[in-house]
Symmetry: D4
Subunit: 248 residues, 8 copies
C-alpha cells in the first residue's frame, strides 16, 4: 500500500507528468510512515538466528498457546520465558514439537540448529538457587546457536570452587555470571579473565537483599572493568547479549 | 545530498533506465536516513511561537553567550533558564536586547509578541520560597504568548488565603501550582476548579522533604483528578505544557 | 472589613434600597469566603459531562453494587474503575443498563452521549501488557464525551512501528502515552508532536522496574518539554486530564 | 529474691553488724537489677485508665484468645487491634463480654467506663477507605475514657466538605487526622485550628503512594506547625497519644 | 438552601425584625461557608501567645532584617529560626531589642512574657551534637510562655545517665526528645513516663544515618505508644506542638 | 586427576628427565586449579565443630530430605534453617534422628556434643514476635557447642525489664540482640556491657518499619561502639558469628 | 544526696524505728534514680583499657582542644577520630604529647601501652582509597592494646593478591575488612578463614555506589557466615569491636 | 621465595629422598599462596593492549604525577580518568609525552598504537551535557586500539536526528550509548541495530533524575534485548567492555 503510493510517483515521473525534482519535492511531503515498511526487511535481516521471544508470565495457558502457535507458522526458533508446566501443556497441544526446559522455566521450539556462535559461552552461578536464572541464559544462548558450558555453585565464600574451575572460564569467549545476595561473583570472575562478563543479579536472598537490589548495586559498582549488567533475574537478556557478542 | 540520491533515482526512471517497480525496490534498500530531512520542516512548523530554550546551569558565561547569540541569529524568542547574573552580563554584551528576570533566573530575548494563548494561565505558589520556580513558569508562559496571573503564598496551612482568591483561579484556562514541602496545594486547587492543573514540586523544605521528593510523591498521588505533574523545580516545563494547552 | 461589607448590604436592605433577593445575588459575587455555599452550584456546573467515579478495588461486589445504583439515581454517566467481572455481575443485577469493558476492567453507565471534546484524543501504549491501563484511559475519555484513537504496541525498541503511525499522533489534540519498564515512549512521542502529552507509567516490568518506579522516574525526567505525568497505572487520571484539555 | 538480699542488709544494720554508712556503701556495689522490681508499682500507677493492648495480627485465634483471657483476669480495659472475626469468635468463647468493632477490626473488653479526657477528641478521615484506621483511633480513645467526634470523608480535593464542618474541629481539644494518598489533610486541618493535630498516614493509595510512604512524607513536611505524626496505619498510636493529651 | 437561610436573614432585616448589627452577629454563627471571614477573628484569637515565625535559612541578612522589622511593628513575640550571626547583626540594627540565642541559632524578640503553659516542658537530647535542635525547641517553647527543663546528653548507650535524671522527666507535662543516629531515645523515655512525647529526629550521624532518615524511621516505629514525631531537625515544630499541649 | 599431573612432574624429576628448576618452571605454567584440592583439607579443618547448614525455604520437602540425608552420611552436626513441619516430616523419614525445633523453624541432627564455646552466649529479644529469629540464633549456637542463656521480651519501652536482668547480660561472653521496629535494643544492651554485641534486625513491625529496614538502619547507627550487625532476620548468622567469637 | 536518703533509711533501722521488712518496703517506693549512681563504678570497670573517644568532625579546633585536654586530665588513652591537621595543631598546644596519624585522620594520646589483645588483628582493605578507614581501625585497635597486621589493596578483581597473602589472614584472631564500591571482599575473606570478620563498608565509589550504600548492602548479604557489619566508614567501630573480641 | 620451597621439594625427589607420591602429598600441605605467583604471568598475558588505568579524582596533582610516572616506567599505554588540568600540569612535568583530552577529562600516554579492534565502535550521546562521559569512552576505546565514530546530541525527543544517522550505527560492531535524564536512548538505538549496546547512565539532569538513578533504572529495564549497562558516568568501563568485545 505504502509502496503503492511511491510506485505511483515513479509512474508519474516515467510518464513525464512529473520532473524528478518535482517528485523529490512531493516525496518530501509524503507522510513519513509511507516508507516505514523499508525497515521491516532490515529488521528481519537483523533477526537471522534470533528466536522469537514471548514473556509467558501473566498470560493464561490458552493465550500463550495461541501466541506460540501463531509464531510457529513462521520459520525460526521460538522461546517462551518464565513459563509454567501448565502453560507448556497448553502449548504442547497446539505445537507438538515444543519442548519444556524445567529448570529454565522455558518453552522452546528449535528448528534452526545452525551454530552462529564462534566460541563457547560460559554460564556461571553463585549458588544453586541462582540456577533457574542461569538456565534461562543457557537456553537462550543455545537456541541462538551457541555452545554453552555451565559452572554452577561457585560463590565467592568458597573461592576455591571457582579457582578449581578456571579452565571453564578461560575457554569461554563470553561469560555470564548469575548471583544474588551480595552479587560479588562477577567481580571475581571478571578479574580472572580477559573477556566480556555479563552480570545478572538474581532476586535470591532475603532481608537487605531487597529482591536483587543489593546484587544489582554490587554489580554496577564492580571493580572489574570488563563487567556490564542486565536487569534482575534477566537470564534471557544476558543470554541474548552474550550470543550477539559471540557472533562477532 | 540525500535528496540528491533520490533525485537520481527519479532521473533514472524518467530516462527509462529503471521501471517504477525497480525504483521502488531500490528505494526500499536506500538507507533510511535519506528521508530524514523531511522531518525538519514539520518540526519547524511545530515550533511556531515556541521559544528556543537553553538550560544555562553548568555552562560558563562565555559558553552561554555564544549559544545565545547564535540562536539570536534566527528569528523567534529565546529563553535561557537557570541563568545567573554573571551569565546574563556575558549574554548582554553579545545580545544587547536580552533581558534578565531575576526572580525567575531567566535570560530572555522576546521578538515575537503575538498572543498565542486563548485564555489566562494562573501561576500559584504555596510559599514565598517557591516563587523562583513559579516565576520560571511565568516567564516561559509569557514568552510563549500567554497572559499570566500570579497567586503567591497561598499554602494550605492558611486555606483562607487561597479561598479569598478563588477569582483568580476561576478566571484561568489552565493553572500551574508550585509547592514544596508536602506538596498539598495542587490537590486543594484541583478540587476548586474544573480546568487542568499542572503541578510543579519544588525542592523547598528540609529533612524528610528530600529535596522535592515528598512534594513529588504528594502530587503524584493527588486525590484531585485534574492534576498532572512535571519534574521537581521544572517551572519551565510547567509553563511550556500550560502554554500548549492554552493554545488549543 | 468583610463583616463591614456585609453589614452594608444588610443596611441597604433595611433601608429598602435592595430587595432580599438582590442582596443574595450580590452576596453571590462577593469574594469567596463570604459565600462558600456558592461552590456547590459552581461545582455542579463544573461537573457537566463529568462522570461520577468509583474506585472499585477493595470493595465487595455487594458494596460496589449499592454505591453504583445509588449514583445511578441521579443523571449523568457513571464509571467504576478497577472492577472485576464478579463486581460487574452484582452491579448488573441492580443497574441492568450497566456495561463491562473487560480490557479496561471498567463498569460504566453511559446516559449522556454528548461530544464535549473538540478534537481527538490519541491513546498510545508501549507494549501489549500496558493495554489495560490504556483502555482505562480510553473508557474514561469516551465517557467524558471524546473521540479516541488507539495506537498500541509501539514501544521504542521498534521505533518504526511508532513512526509508521505518526498520522494518528498528528491528528490528535491531546495524546496519552502508557508505558512500563523504562518508560521512554512519552519522550519519543513528545518529540514528534506539538500538543500536550499525558504520560502514564505502568507497573509492567520486573526486577529494577520496581512496579512502575523506573517508568515514573523516566517520565518525570522526559527530555520532551510537552510531557506531564500522572500516577503509576492511573489510566483514569490521564483520561480525565486529557478530556479537560480537549474541552478547552 | 532481690528484695531478700536487701532485707539481709537491713537485718545486719539492725543487728549492729553494719553501720548505716557501711550499708550504703555495700548497696552501692549491689548489682543494679536488685531494685528493678520497684518500677513495677510505678509503672502500674502510670497505667491507670490505660488499656492493656494486644496486636492481634499474625496470632492464631487460639493464641489471641489465650492472651486476651489471661489479661482479663486483671481489672481494666483490654484492646486487641488488627483482629479478625475469626479471632474474635475464639476470644468470645473464653471472654463472653468481649465485643467486636468491625470497622476498627478491634476486640475490646471495657470495664472501666470513667471519663478521663477533659474535652472532645475529633477523628477526621480524608476518604472512606481511611475509615478502618480512623475507627481504630476512635476505639482506642473511647476505651481510654474520651468522648470522640467523627468527621469522615472530608479530603482536600473537596475542601468545602471540610470547611462546612469546622464546628466539629473547633469543638475538639485534640484532633486526629487519617489520610492516605498525598496525606495533605493534616496541613489543612492544622491551619484551621489552634490545638494539637496527630496525623496518621494510611496505606491507602496505589502506585507512587508506596503503601503510605507518600502520605507519611507529606505529613512530616506539613507546613502547619501544630502537626506531629505516628506510623503508617497506626490508628491505635494516634488514639493513645491523643488520649494522653486530652487528660492533661 | 444556604442562600435561603441568608435570604431569610435579609428578609428579617428588611422587615425590621433584626438590626443590621444583629444580622451580622447571627451570620457569624452560621455554618462556615456562609461566613469564611469569621476565620480571621478566630484565627487571630488562636494566635494569642503564638510567636510570628520566620525561617531564616536561605534569606540574605538584609531580607531577614526587613521581614523581622516589619513583623515587629505589630505586638507579640517574633522568632527567626536557623539564623546566622550575620543575619542577627542586620536584624539588630533595625530592631535593637532583638536577641540572639547562639546554640539555637535563633533570633527572638520577646514582648509578651505571659506564662501560657500550665506545667513544665522537658527537652531531652541524646548527644551533645543534638543540642542545637534541642535549643531551638527550648527557645520556641519559652517564647510561647512555657517553663522548660533541659536534660542533655542522656543517649541510650549510657542508660544510667537517663535513669539518674528521671526526676526531670517525671516533673514534665510534655517531653520533647531530640536524637540522631539510631533515634532510640524517645522509645526509652516514652516507656518511663505517662505523658506525651514529641520526638525530633536530628541529622546527626554519618553513613547509614542518611541525614536523619535512620532516626526518623526509628521514631516512627517506636514501641512506646505515647510518641509522635516531627520532621528531621524540626526543633521549632516540636516546641510549638509541646506548647499547644501544655496550654490545654 | 590434578594430583596426577603433578605426580608426573615429580616422576620426571626422579627419573632425571627434568631438573628441579625446570620442574618449578613447568609448575609455574600449570593451570592454577591443579592445586585447588589443597584447600579442601584446610577448609575441612576450619569446619571442626561447624554444622553443615541448609537454607530450607523454597525447597520442596523431598528436595530438603534428599539434601539432609546426603549430608548425614558424613559425621558432624546438620542444621536446616527456615524449615516447615512438612519439610521436617520428609526429613524425619530419611533421617530418623533428626529433630525439629518449632520456634526456631529449624531441623537439626546433633552428633557432636562437644562444648567448643568457652563461656556463655546470651540471646536477647525485644519482643515476643522476635523470638523465632532469636531461637534460630539459639539453635545455631547450641549446635556449635555453646551454652546459651535466653532473655526475651525486654524491649526498650519497658527498660526496667532489661535492667532487672542485667545479671544474664553480665554473665555472657558474647551477646546476640534481636529486635524489630525501631531496633533500639542493641544500643541499650551495648551500653550496659563490655563484650561484643551481635545485632539482628528482624522484619517485625508494620508501615515505616519497611520489613526490617528501620531496625537495620537503627542498628548500623548504634551509638554503642561494641555493636556489629547481620542481615534482617538472620538469626543463624548471629549464632554463627557469636559461636566463632566464643571459641576464641 | 540520693545516698543520703538511703542512709537515713538505714539509720532508722539501726535505731529500731523501722524493721528491715518495713525498710525494704520503703525502698521499694523510693524513686528509681536514687540508686543510679551505683552504675558509675561498674561502668568505669568496663572501661579498663578502653580509650576515651571524641568524634572530631564538626568541632572547631578550639572546641576539640578543650575537650581533648579535659579528657587528658584523667589517665588512660584518648582518641579523636576524623580530625584535621588544623584541629591537631590546636590540641598539640594544650596536650604536647598528643600525636597525629595522618592517614587515619586521628589524634591520639597513648599512656596505657599494655597489650590487652591475645592475638593479632588483621586489617584488610580492598583498594588504596579505603586506607583512611582501615587506618582508623588500625589506630583504634592499637590504642586498645592490640597487635595489628595490615593487608591493603587486595580487592576481589585481582583475587591472586589476596590469595598470595593468606598467611596474614590465617595468623589473625579477628579480621577487619574495609571495602567500598561493591563491598565484595568480606565475603571472599570470610570464606578463606574460620575467625570472625568485621566488615566496614566505605563511601568509596561513585554513581550507584551511593556513598557506601552498595557496599553496605553487599556486606549485609554476605554469603560467608562469619561476617558482621558496622556503619559506613566506621573504622573506629570495627577496631573497637575487634579489640573486644581479641580480649576474650 | 615461594618458588624456592617448591624447588627444594623437587631437589629432594631428584636426590631420591622423596618419592613422587610423597612429594605430591607434601605439596598438598604447602600453604596455598606459595603458588600465587603463577598467576602473574597469566594476568600479564591478559593485559596485552590493555592500558594501565588510574582514577584521578581525589588525588593531589603530586600523587597523580608520581603514580603516572611510575606506571610509565613499564611499556604500554596509560590512562588517568577524571583528571583536572592542574593534575595534568603536574603529570606533564614528569612525563612530558603525556597528553590531556579536555572534554574527556583524561590524561593519556599512548605508546602502543596497534589496532586491536576488528571493527568500529560507535559512541552515542543523548545530549551535549553527556559528552564528557562519552569522550571518556572514546579515549578509552582509542587507547585500547579501536577506531571510534562519534554520534552526539541525538536524544529521543528529536528522534529524526538519530534516524538521520543510522549509517553510523549500522557501521559499528559495538555501540556505546551515554544518556542522562530518562535514559531512553539505548532502547531506541538497541531496537535499530543487531549488535551489542553498552549503556552508560549519566548524572545529567535535575530533580527526580537523582544524579543518574532515573537513567540507570531506565536502562536496566530496556525493552531492547541487546542492551547491558555499566555504572553511572562510567564512560571508561563502557569503553573497556566495548574494546574487549571488538577484539573478539
Amino acid at each position: 500500500m505504502n509502496a503503492e503510493s511511491i510506485r505511483k510517483l515513479f509512474e508519474q515521473v516515467r510518464r513525464g507528468k512529473l520532473s524528478p525534482d518535482e517528485a523529490v519535492e512531493r516525496l518530501r511531503h509524503l507522510p513519513f510512515e509511507d516508507l516505514g515498511f523499508a525497515k521491516l526487511d532490515h529488521h528481519r535481516a537483523l533477526r537471522v538466528g534470533m528466536p522469537e521471544v514471548v514473556f509467558a508470565e501473566g498470560k493464561t495457558p490458552a493465550q500463550l498457546a495461541q501466541i506460540f502457535s501463531r509464531l510457529a507458522t513462521h520459520g525460526g526458533n521460538i522461546l517462551a520465558t518464565r513459563a509454567s508446566k501448565e502453560q507448556f501443556a497448553a502449548v504442547k497441544k497446539k505445537v507438538p514439537k515444543a519442548q519444556y526446559r524445567e529448570p529454565a522455566r522455558a518453552i522452546l521450539l528449535q528448528r534452526d540448529h545452525k551454530k552462529y556462535g564462534k566460541g563457547k559461552i560460559a554460564v556461571v552461578s553463585a549458588g544453586t538457587s541462582d540456577i533457574p536464572v542461569a538456565e534461562e541464559a543457557v537456553v537462550t544462548a543455545e537456541l541462538m546457536g551457541n555452545e554453552v558450558e555451565r559452572l554452577y555453585d561457585v560463590g565467592v565464600a568458597g573461592i576455591h570452587r571457582l579457582l578449581a574451575n578456571r579452565g571453564t572460564l578461560s575457554r569461554a569467549r563470553v561469560v555470564i555470571v548469575c548471583a544474588g545476595m551480595e552479587g560479588a561473583l562477577p567481580s571475581v570472575v571478571g578479574g580472572l579473565i580477559g573477556v566480556p562478563v555479563i552480570a545478572v543479579p538474581t532476586s535470591i536472598g532475603y532481608g537487605a537483599a531487597f529482591k536483587g537490589v543489593a546484587a544489582l548495586l554490587g554489580m554496577m559498582n564492580s571493580c572489574a572493568s570488563n563487567v556490564s549488567v542486565v536487569n534482575i533475574d534477566n537470564g534471557f537478556g544476558a543470554g541474548y547479549v552474550a550470543s550477539l557478542i559471540n557472533r562477532l
